[in-house]
Symmetry: C2
Subunit: 326 residues, 2 copies
């Protein structure tokens, strides 16, 4: 029997992870967020609504000594940039309060802690592919807060207070739901909207390259991180996850192959200098050798990313059978 | 007229910097530390005794809106490892409280902030020479706290709250004064004690390589950091300083050349497995191209490091004239 705590369970990844836990593993789960998370069918879960940065909140969450903690809660990039104090309060103080609550539990308590970090810990200029020894030099407050969380995770793990593993997620694509205002939103929008019969706007040239994982791959990373032998990590507890490096042009060609010309023609080019400038500072490609050697597996192709969206969100069989995973 | 605040002014680097400020620049100086700093001859300074991590302390220090702030205060490596909470309170919270006090001053206040970081932000395994894009993966709580300070410095600078520059000091050699219990103490001890007519103990093999700067070079870095055009730094505000990479054997040969056989023979080998294990995790060599391009200058040789100790601490002319600086 494994007691599992999911912090930030009401977000997109939190919901997907909860579904996966319902299917695969969990017997005793706490789903935490600032709003009430909705447990998926088949998962017996206690739902806790709390602000992680409030005094005593973290201690209450870990009072039952969960053996596994997924720490997914975060103020996202755009909001952390717009609201400096809120970003630091949740992303830095919240994370540190959680780690401190675990440390102060003491008495041999040393949970597996899976922390979602981000490729936002990297900032331009970049080499052609970012390897596992490349500097963390974020260009956003969100990326700074994640990089600090990573450093704390490694130090608390090294001191034996917790058994941490940090997972640097690629940009999630195709993100389900409505378009949002994130500068990265178009990467999902140009797939999601055309598949739903709607027009999508493309603000950047087709040559722009970025790094992607499907929601299914992302939850796969988290499940693997829960089970992995962390002795293999050594002192460096944070891992860049494998992903698919694709240009916008390659995204669109994949969409055409999966769903046809008519769908792919629903993308309208509308260059936006502001978004182009922001995106120019983002990483494009990685060489995530450590994560690959540790058994983390990306999607097979950008086409597979599209098929996963069709299967998981649109409830349809894809046009072609999915290739077996490597 | 420049108003200068030195935080951590009673430490070795703080004292050397105060002497330099007395000679070169300063008209209005505040010397802060947890104990009363002693202003050097010729420096008109206000001395403030306060715990930087105490509520309101940082706000009081910056109330006079100093144009330059040197933040040198830190719990050192050994103590931060032995006392987890104290290390985080001073090295992380103290630094953050200082940055927050500056941010909250507002009204266009944006001081030059020179932050002393350390090569402890790096942890093994290393490449042959650590370049400016190498990962910060510290193996101590002190190194973790310094790496977090660096990230905050960059983010607060990027947001325009301060004008920061982080200086990763090499191991300071020859450190004046009594031997201390730091694992790195022997690097200075094997020079300082023989020159003082005393025996020194060498706990590691002569093949051990490390990265050094004299106290004079270190204060030179800080003075240069005070004056540099930070627009040249871009978003990456933290710089590995140049140093001298030398093996213990090369240190001893330099001592022999500067001070003779008799002095160099006062070193007794006494292997210590614990110290050898700690030192094995330390960096040995760097390629600090950015700092060199920005005009930071290391000592010319390990011999020069020894001559500086003889001149500055023992009050003697060195046996041979110092070569001109490169």
């Amino acid at each position: 029997m494994t007691r599992i705590l999911v912090i930030g369970a009401a977000g997109m990844i939190g919901r997907k992870l909860s579904e996966r836990l319902a299917k695969e593993a969990a017997s005793e789960v706490i789903l935490h967020d600032v709003v009430a998370a909705k447990p998926p069918a088949g998962l017996k879960a206690r739902v806790v609504v709390a602000d992680l940065s409030a005094p005593g909140a973290a201690a209450k969450l870990v009072a039952g000594r969960p053996e596994v903690i997924f720490h997914l809660a975060a103020i996202v990039s755009g909001e952390a940039e717009a609201d400096f104090e809120k970003g630091y309060r949740i992303n830095l103080d919240g994370t540190r309060l959680l780690f401190e609550a675990i440390r102060k539990t003491g008495d041999g308590y040393r949970p597996r802690l899976v922390f979602t970090s981000s490729i936002a810990v990297f900032g331009a200029p970049f080499p052609e592919a970012i390897d596992d020894e490349y500097l963390n030099a974020p260009l956003t407050s969100y990326g700074t807060q994640k990089a600090i969380g990573e450093l704390l995770l490694s130090d608390y793990s090294r001191r034996g207070f917790l058994d941490g593993i940090g997972i640097r997620l690629p940009t999630i694509c195709v993100r389900p739901g409505k378009p949002n205002l994130a500068a990265s939103g178009f990467f999902s929008g140009i797939i999601r909207e055309p598949l739903a019969g709607e027009e999508a706007v493309l603000p950047v040239p087709r040559s722009v390259r970025h790094w992607f994982a499907s929601p299914r791959a992302a939850t796969g990373f988290l499940m693997h991180a829960m089970r992995i032998d962390t002795a293999k990590l050594g002192a460096r507890r944070n891992l860049t996850m494998p992903g698919i490096s694709a240009t916008v042009g390659e995204q669109i060609e994949a969409l055409r192959r999966v769903a046809g010309d008519e769908v792919a023609q629903r993308i309208r080019e509308a260059p936006d200098a502001t978004i182009q400038r922001i995106v120019a500072g983002w990483p494009q490609n990685f060489a995530p050798q450590r994560a690959l050697a540790l058994g983390f597996r990306a999607d097979a192709s950008f086409e597979e990313i599209i098929r996963i969206h069709i299967e998981d969100e649109l409830g349809q069989r894809t046009l072609r059978p999915r290739p077996d995973r490597a």
